[in-house]
Amino acid sequence: MTPRKKPRLGVFKFSSCDGCQLSLLDCEDELLAIAGAVEIAYFPEATRADDKGEYDIALVEGSVTTPHEAEHILDIRRRTGKLITIGACATSGGIQALRNLADVAEYTSVVYARPDFIDTLETSTPIADHVKVDFELRGCPINKAQLIEVITAHLVGRRPATPPHATCVECKLAGHVCVMVAHGTPCLGPVTHAGCGALCPGYDRGCYGCFGPKETPNTVSLTSQLSGIGADKQTIQRLFSTFNTNAPAFRKEASRHGG
């Protein structure tokens, strides 16, 4: 029997902080096993190699913010079997999507002495706005255990187990005291996608929504609760305008509060 050819994995970066692809290198116990199970054909953060040929799996980090990136993702899609986006930038546009409601020319003039040297788009958009995405892994950053689950599931051909329920559910399961009920701390746990294990409430702070909206989030009900504990419009608007500011449910809620 001839050994099956290893699946080819590519890791691609768009506009981002590199943290989500670093999560792969942060799998210290599993990394060499992963490198044994797949052919890491392209991963420029870790190794020299040319981007050529086709990929069975592409992990895509980052959002589309330049004309070049908008072209590049089309090229990757054409050469890829399963395209998986990793992290808030790739799934919703990231913190850099704060530009979407701003004047980008003014932004450029604030940061750069020579705005004419800068080539950028007016918006930061998720990968799924440009090409078909086979699976989206949430988080800013992603949870590395979920990353291994997603890679493993794709290798064996099953659906990844990444529950779409609320962080609030994880928080109850973890047995944390509710920071909103007990301390009056604003918390996005009821409307935020699970995956982090309710980290922030475990550290006595409110969830700040870095995994983006859960499926069917009731943001209106949550913000009325937030107002009830004294959060003003600006606080609520800022809460929904961070790492997933361009996710439709969060964007809409922020706009109801002046964002």
């Binding site: 970066k13 768009f14 506009s15 981002s16 902080c17 590199d18 943290g19 989500c20 670093l22 999560s23 290198l25 942060d26 210290e28 116990d29 990394l31 060499l32 490198a35 890491i40 991963f43 420029p44 953060e45 870790a46 190794t47 020299r48 190699a49 913010t65 990136e69 990231g94 913190i95 850099q96 704060l98 530009r99 701003a102 980008v104 003014e106 932004y107 450029t108 604030v110 940061v111 750069y112 002495a113 020579r114 040297f117 800068i118 950028t120 930061s124 800013c140 950053p141 982090c196 980290l199 922030c200 475990g202 550290y203 006595d204 702070r205 700040y208 870095c210 800022r238 961070t242 790492f243």
Partner: protein
């Protein structure tokens, strides 16, 4: 490509094994290098623009997203700048915990670079995976364990390795109990042995014999190897308050890069990072780290940037040693955070990110809203020095095949562990021989 006039361009369009996207280009005319360009094409993300109008309290978590490799550095510079603006100082166990979490980031970031990104240059591999497959499995596994120990510190204090959630202006959301440190202490004792071995391993590499008379810039602190606090000092005799940064350093925007480049106000380049810290603070290393440096053949001063890989390993050892010292001395604080009142003011801070000095300045309105933000990351500051190294250090190998030149250029750039995500407001090799 060479032509009849003896001119050629050597370039790399996407430099691998660095954080972010960059490229470089070397222009050669008649056998002489006439230009070098280190280019950052990482797209701009406009942090300094959208920080305006945000709450002071959001800056640590927002600026962390500039870089997934060194989020603690951003969080530390941000909280210290805000505390400077509010006129408070965080001391005692809270200060120690901040130093501890920074030790964790130095260990994970440095180990990633030393063993997985830079070592392959010295040993002739494309990356750590093929290095491991070709007989260096033990070294790679040891490095992974060491990196994991650094991450264990960050996750223990910060909640998670990347974009930790427990750092706030004034201190922390929650502080650990003394007894909870026990498993981490055991992990770090094993890591200290790995770090010693990493220093020995790197000291056995072959180093190109090149030095330059750098102007080293780092924080300087009376009693400590610098991380969160100190004056900004240089080997050229500078010794200033952090708040005077803009009087002595400036950033320029050059056409070939999406990153601003840092210069002294007289237009000269300088170098920040491990080599600068080591040269200015060697005597403040722990005894174990100093001894390991000596055994590895490093004197109190080192001007060969290729040896920065050993210096990083020494800093890893120091950080593990220092982490153990802090944990041993830790007393639980009365509260996780000190009290303060926002006020209209400007705050400044510089801390030592793994790659070097990270400067933040915020002008705040009376209610703590950010009116203006300035962030100067280490890789922007090192860009001019990187270009000068490329001009200075490859002249003796121009007769070599293009691939050899390209590899040496890459190795030279990686001496700086450039973090391009950070510097964008910050790479691609191109050698132009006409």
């Amino acid at each position: 490509m060479a032509d009849e006039s003896g001119s050629r361009t050597i370039k790399v369009d996407l430099l691998a094994r660095v954080e972010g996207e960059g490229a470089f280009k070397v222009v050669i005319r008649d056998g002489e290098i006439v230009g070098t360009q280190f280019r950052i094409f990482e797209p701009p993300r406009f942090f300094e623009a959208f920080l305006r109008g945000r709450a002071y309290s959001e800056a640590p978590d927002i600026t962390a997203r500039i870089c997934g490799i060194c989020p603690i550095a951003y969080q530390m510079s941000a909280v210290h700048a805000m505390e400077d603006a509010f006129g408070i100082k965080v001391g005692g166990p809270l200060r120690d915990l901040r130093r501890l979490v920074y030790c964790g980031e130095w260990i994970e970031s440095h180990t990633l670079h030393v063993a997985m990104l830079h070592a392959p240059d010295f040993l002739g591999f494309d990356g750590a995976f093929d290095m491991a497959a070709a007989g260096h499995q033990d070294a790679v596994r040891m490095a992974l364990d060491l990196k994991k120990a650094g991450n264990a510190i960050v996750a223990f204090i910060g909640g998670r390795e990347i974009h930790p959630i427990n750092i706030r202006v004034g201190g922390f959301y929650k502080v650990p109990r003394k007894r909870d440190f026990a498993p981490l202490t055991e992990t770090l004792k094993a890591a200290r042995e790995h770090a010693l071995n990493l220093v020995k391993w790197t000291s056995g590499f072959d180093f190109p014999d090149h030095e330059r008379d750098y102007n080293f810039v780092s924080l300087l602190h009376d009693a400590e190897y610098p991380m969160n606090e100190g004056r900004i000092a240089s080997s050229g005799g500078l010794d200033i308050d952090v708040g005077d940064f803009n009087r002595h350093f400036r950033e320029e925007h050059v056409a070939h890069s999406n990153a601003l480049q840092g210069f002294m106000t007289d237009g000269s380049s300088y170098l920040c990072g491990p080599l600068a810290r080591y040269n200015l603070n060697h005597e403040r290393l722990s005894e174990m780290a100093r001894q390991a440096a000596k055994d590895a053949g490093l004197g109190p001063s080192c001007k060969n940037p290729y040896r920065s890989i050993i210096v990083r390993a020494v800093e890893i050892l120091y950080a593990v040693d220092e982490a153990l010292r802090i944990i041993d001395a830790y007393q639980e604080p009365d509260a996780p955070c000190v009290a303060y009142e926002p006020r209209s003011s400007t705050g400044y801070a510089a801390t030592e990110a793994p790659r070097g000095l990270l400067f933040h300045r915020y002008r705040l309105e009376a209610n703590g809203t950010i009116a203006e933000a300035q962030i100067v990351p280490p890789t922007s500051q090192n860009q001019p020095s990187i270009e000068e190294d490329l001009s200075s250090f490859i002249g003796d190998i121009l007769d070599q095949p293009e691939d050899e030149i390209r590899l040496r250029c890459e190795q030279t750039i990686r001496n700086y562990d450039p973090c391009i995500s950070c510097a964008t407001h910050f790479l691609k090799l191109e050698i132009d021989r006409g």
